[in-house]
């Protein structure tokens, strides 16, 4: 479970970076041939959104580091200081959901997946991520 969670974290970060790279290639190639790139690199496949996602990840990583510097997660496990856990868990949660929101928008806007379906998937993911974070911190691996 812990390794899976770490994989998810890295996967979402790398997907954001990959999305940025591929869209940069498209925009550069399109501009070289004087093509209209606004239809492609707008909306869900927006380079700005991918960029914001990566910036968000950086901010959350720094928050996470700050939480580890300032607070002891072991004290939260002992039930002495509860705030320690929630600060770290909140940062981890935001870190995963920043790029995931992009992917969900791509599914809705480009592939036309109904919103109710994406809501169900997001609901399950939120529960899954919460339980994974809890287990990660509880086990401490």
């Amino acid at each position: 479970m812990e390794d899976k969670f770490k994989n998810y974290l890295f996967a979402f970060i790398l997907v954001s970076a990959f999305g940025m790279l591929i869209l940069t290639t498209v925009i550069e190639g399109g501009n070289n041939y004087s093509l209209d790139t606004s239809k492609i690199a707008g909306g869900s496949l927006s380079i700005t959104q991918f960029n914001e996602s990566i910036s968000n990840l950086q901010t959350e990583s720094e928050n996470l580091k700050k939480s580890f510097d300032d607070q002891s997660i072991w004290s939260s496990i002992a039930g002495v200081v509860v705030e320690g856990f929630f600060g770290i868990a909140g940062s981890m949660f935001n870190m995963i959901f920043a790029p995931l929101n992009l992917i969900i928008n791509i599914l809705i806007d480009i592939f036309g997946i109904p919103i109710w379906f994406s809501t169900v998937i997001v609901g399950l993911l939120i529960l899954g991520v919460m339980l994974s974070i809890w287990r990660l911190i509880k086990v401490g691996d």
Partner: protein, 101 residues
């Protein structure tokens, strides 16, 4: 609706002119179907050889993206169809990276 007559094709310009003609009379659907065909062939080919569906989705996504990019530059497919191929390559990457096996 009347379509262009095949006799209007200038054969001396090569196969590209024929493809362009077919693309016009099918309202770019031939290019879209071509991309879908490439995606399915790579997906199935890779899957049958490697028994790895997640990997095959990523490889098929990248392969289709390259062809779609060339089609888009050549004016054979719309930006929307190209956008779908980009989305498939991004989703393929996500699925590949989420592989924990």
């Amino acid at each position: 609706m009347t379509h262009l007559s095949p006799s209007t094709i200038n054969g001396t310009k090569g196969l590209g002119e024929v493809l362009s003609y077919v693309n016009i009379i099918t309202d770019t659907w031939i290019s879209k179907l071509f991309l879908i065909g490439i995606y399915v062939i790579i997906l199935m080919g890779y899957y049958k050889s490697k028994e790895d569906f997640r990997g095959s989705m990523a490889v098929a996504g990248y392969g289709t993206f390259v062809v779609a990019f060339l089609f888009w530059i050549g004016g054979f497919v719309s930006g929307y169809a190209f956008g779908v191929s980009i989305a498939m390559s991004i989703l393929g990457t996500l699925i590949l990276l989420l592989d924990n096996d």
